[in-house]
Structures are given as C-alpha cells and as structure tokens.
Amino acid sequence: MSDGPVGGPLLATGAGAASAIRRQASIGLLRNRAVGVTVFLVLLGIFFSGLAPNFATIGNINTIALNGAILVVVACAEAIVVITRNYDLSVGSTVALASYVGLDVVRHVPEAGPILILAPVLIGTLCGVFNGLLVAYGRLPSVVATLGTMSIYRGLAFLYANGGQINASDLPPWVARTATSHVFGISTLLLVACAVVALASLMLGKLRIGRQIYAIGSNPEAALFYGLNARRVVFAAYTMDGLLTGLAAFLFAARASWIVPYLAQGLELTALAAVVVGGVSVLGGSGTALGAAVGAVTLATLDNGLVLVGASEFTRELMQGAAIVCAVIVDAALQRRLRRLLKAVRDRRFL
C-alpha cells in the first residue's frame, strides 16, 4: 500500500471499545431490520387476504412456499456474496448451465440414481469457482466479472444444448419426486430450502469463514490489517454461492416440465432484489441468510398476491422495481444513522 489507509489512525486508537459498541449498535439495527421485513410480510399477507378471497387458503400458501423455496436457496447464495461487498449477476445463467448439463448427465446415466444430484451441484460450484477466481484473484470488479460470466455461462448452455431440450419424461422419476414428494406432510422442496437457510446461517454466524466474510464486507481495510486473506475469503464466498446455485439449479429442473438453456432468465435481478429487500446491506458487512430468505418469501408473496388480484405483468415488474428502490433507500437511511451513532461515540471518546 503506497499511502496510508483512509481510516487508519482511528482504527488504531479506538479499536477495542469502539468496535464493541459498533458491534452492539449494528446487531441492534440488524435485528430491527429482519423484524421490519417480517412485519412488512405479515402486512402484505393481511392486505392480500382482504383483496383476494382465495389468497389465505392452505393451497395458495403452499403455492407461495413452493415458488419461494427455490428463490430462497438462490437468495442465500447471493447473500453470501453480497455480504463480502460483491455481487453475482451470473446466478440465472449458472442455473441454466448447471441444470441443463447436470440433468443431461442424469438423462444419460439414469441407473446411477439420486447421487447424480451432485452433477448440477458440481457444475454450479465450478461456475462459482470461476467467478471467485476472476473477482478474488483476477482483481476484477464483481459487477464486470459476473456480467461477463453471465453471458459466458448462458452461451455455454446454448452451445451444449445445441437447440435441444430435456423433457421431464426423459428423466428418471426421482427427479420430479424431489419437487412433489412430502416428508411428514411437508414438501421436500420446502425442507431443502429450510435446511439451506439453517446451514447458511450457521456458516455465516458461527463458523470462522462466516465471520471472516462479514469482516471483509464491513471494513476491507480493517480486515486487511487484521491479517485476513481477503482473496481467499472472497473466493470461498463465491464457491459457496456457486454450490448453492447449483443446488437451486437441480430444484429448478425438478419443478420444470422441460429444461431449456433460457431457463431462469433474469433470476439474478430477482435474487438481488430478495437479498436487498431482506435487509442485506448493499455496502456489505451486514445482513443474514434468514433475512435474505424472508426477502425471497416477501417477493414470492407479492408476486402471488398481485396475480390473484389480477394485476398485469407490468404492475408486477413495477412493484419489484419499487421494492428494490425502497429497500435501498431504507438501507441508506439505516447506514447513515449507524454512521452518525458511531461518530457520536467516537467524538465522546476524544473530547
């Protein structure tokens, strides 16, 4: 580093107490945020049950849960990367590539059985690894790198498919059963989504790598001085992102009647929207997997409710755009409050 870091002296002097207060302040705000989104979700539910009589039925709630389940997995994947202050715009293309190539393997070796779930997961992981290499070790800005890989993965899917498609009838029955079967009366899809949220929360909250992910995202310079290997952490984040996206690709394939290379187009924007609505800061460093999941369910509910009240396609797009804008503005307001809070704490220390 040629000249001093921006926040150097402050970090050196006020490290102990300030960071403890900072942690507490941000934890408080974070709790509020997750609660805020949940309250919004409940209000949304009440609103739609008032407008559409068939909204608050068991069948419809089941539909929302099934639609939301896959988005929850993708949102968790995206959240891990966003917390490191990066983005992944290639999740939609990764889903397309992983589900087409992965399920093509399943189609050709049907006797291998459900172990082949690993095929799409592996391909998704490889996509994530490549993104991670470009962003962490190639030093590319994540937006540019994943904008590039978005088109590369999609192009590869088209090249591989060569104009073909995979029909659900060509696949062994266990694939579709993943989406339709129930364990203890709860859909397998839903259980998988819950498991992913639990594991991602555990990883982010308790494991060392998870804490490092937050550290890199919340203050890269401090993390650097602390001695964190930023590249390795970002690389790991993208790898986990790819792994979960690969899993989501399998779930997509299990639900779809046919698999085509243009599957999941625009998913990256929905995933980012879910993450931001769920209270993961676009500046990185804060937010939870559970929040991202609630964000995903909120978007799924919004979409479902708008369909039920007969809103057109473009109203739904408008709502999604508005949701992102509102979430970003709320995020900005909270960040600003947090910053002011910290500044007040700091000033008191120095006066």
Partner: protein, 323 residues
C-alpha cells in the same frame, strides 16, 4: 490499474485482424455498403449509450439503467409520434426526460451515498416498468416518417447514425478532454477526496455525468426507432453487456479516472466488426454473446495492473464521508 499506453494501438491492430478474419471467412464482407450498413446496425445505438456510460464510469460509478431509460425514450417517441408532434419537439422532450432520468440516478447516488450499481438496479426496474406502464405490452410501428431519418437516412452515402455517432464522439471528446467539466470528471474519478479539497463541486459534477448519460440514451432512442421502425417497452433488454464491454474494452478504467473517447470509439468499431464477421459466418447469437462476454473479461483482466489494496481503497470513496 494503469491503462497500457499502447492500448489504442492494440485495438487498431485487433480491429485490422478482425476485419481480415471476416473478409477471409466470408466473400460478402469487404464492401463499403455491407460494412457501413452492419456497423450502423450493431454500434450506432449501443455506441451512443456507451459514450454516455463512459462519462459515468470515468467518475468511478456505473449506470446499468441506461438501456431501460432508452426503452422509456422509445415509448415516449411512439406516443409523441401518434400525437403528431413534430420530430424536433419530440426529440427535445424525450432528451430532456431521459436526462432527467439520469439526473435522478445521479441525485440518488450522491444523496444516499450507496453503490451506484444498487441504485441503478432499482432504477432500471422502475424505468422499465414506467415504459410498460406508458406503452403496455404492445409494439408501436406507426411512426411519422420524419422520426426515421436519424436512424436510417444517409448523407453522402454514409449512414446518418454513424455520422451522428462520430459527431457526438467528437463533441464528448471535447467536453471530456478539453473543458473544465471534463477535467473535473476525471478528477472525481481519480480521487473524490482530492477533487473536493481542490474546490471541485463533486456532487454537481457527478450528477452532471449521470445526466449526460441519460441524455445520450434519449438520443440513442431516436436512432433506435429509425433503425427498427418500431418501439416496445421491452426493447434493448440485453444491451447492457455490449455497452459495458465497449466502455471497458475502450480502456476506460472501471474504477474511474482514466480513459478516452478515441479508445471507446475504437472498441466499438472492433466489437461491431466482430459481430459483423460472426454474423456473416453464421455464428449463432448465443455464441456471439459468449464471445463478447469473454472479450469483456479478458480486457478487464489485462487492464488491471494494480494491487488488491489499491482496489479496495478505490472502491470506497464515499462522498458522504467528506465534510
């Protein structure tokens, strides 16, 4: 981080190579009409937006809502044309509206102090939805003939749109490299803090850059209508890759502060020639996109020479931290 001094020279060599490859693979490539027609098809609209985006990238931000702003412009032109508004008045209206869209993006970025990607991601959804709200799902094809000249007319056998692109590039080149505003844009991109210390009105300059990009999208919109003679709210939904690639391949530092108009123009010509050559060789569209994505990544990889720590520092130049 440093742009290679031989960047433009490399682009010229690559451009010649691409032209050579195209003329070897297809006997139809090497005619003036073919080249000017296909270049106009592939780079006139995208080029105008890329030049606008360049102004935003130079200040170290990004605006991914520009194609959506253009789609909004398309719908506005369609409505104005149906209302029998003369083309010059319609153009002024749309350009002003699109500049306003860009200005709003700039305001939000400056006031909220959040990454421009996040802001313009939301804005993209909002503008696209606004276009859908105004125009619905249907396509408009009944334009007054006056609306088509800019996009499909010719002057002295050259397509008007390409002439326009060159003129706009010259004008933007003058603004970027020869005026106080231009220097201020580069200064903001190199170091927001230093720019502020030296008395540059950073916020105003940043907002101006976004507004320029918006206005350019409005201009691109009229060219688009001339080319395709139709408008729909979902126009140009996959244009972003090409636009960003053109800017980055042109040697504009994605973290701001460096780049020039000549490079962007050369990269546009290169990308246009590649697309033309691949099209003539019957390469499917998805593979063309794959190729452009690869070009994007390779060109940024080459352009990055700086260290990780410099990059982190560059990434964090929040305006709101300054007094």
């Amino acid at each position: 981080m440093r742009r290679l001094p031989i960047w433009e020279a490399t682009l010229i060599v690559l451009l010649l190579l691409a032209g050579l490859a195209a003329s070897l693979t297809s006997p139809f490539y090497l005619t003036a009409d073919q080249i000017s027609y296909s270049l106009q098809q592939s780079i006139a609209v995208v080029g105008l937006i890329a030049l606008g985006l360049m102004a935003v990238v130079v200040i170290g931000e990004i605006d991914i809502s520009l194609p959506a702003i253009m789609a909004l412009g398309n719908i506005m032109f369609a409505q104005l044309s149906q209302g029998h508004v003369p083309v010059w008045l319609a153009f002024l209206t749309v350009a002003a509206a699109c500049a306003l869209c860009g200005l709003i993006n700039g305001l939000l970025v400056v006031i909220l102090g959040l990454p421009s990607l996040a802001i313009t991601l939301g804005a993209m959804g909002a503008y696209r939805a606004l276009a859908l709200l105004l125009g619905g799902q249907k396509g408009f094809a009944d334009f007054q003939p006056g609306y088509f000249w800019l996009g499909s007319g010719t002057v002295l056998q050259a397509p008007v749109s390409l002439v326009l692109l060159v003129l706009v590039a010259v004008l933007l080149g003058f603004v970027m490299h020869g005026t106080v505003l231009g220097r201020a844009l580069f200064a903001c991109g190199l170091s927001t803090r230093a720019a502020l210390m030296s008395g540059i009105r950073v916020r105003a300059v940043k907002i101006t850059a976004f507004a320029i990009a918006g206005a350019m999208s409005g201009l691109a919109s009229l060219v688009y209508i001339g080319q395709f003679q139709s408008a729909r709210a979902d126009n140009a939904s996959d244009m972003l890759l090409f636009v960003v690639t053109a800017v980055v391949l042109g040697g504009v530092d994605i973290f701001g502060g460096r780049g020039n108009v000549v490079g962007v123009l050369l990269s546009l010509l290169l990308l246009g020639t590649m697309e033309n050559g691949m099209g003539l060789a019957n390469v499917p569209g998805s593979v063309q996109t794959l190729a452009i994505g690869t070009v994007l990544i390779v060109s940024v990889l080459i352009a990055q020479g700086g260290s990780w720590s410099t990059m982190i520092k560059r990434r964090r130049t929040p305006v709101q931290n300054n007094p």
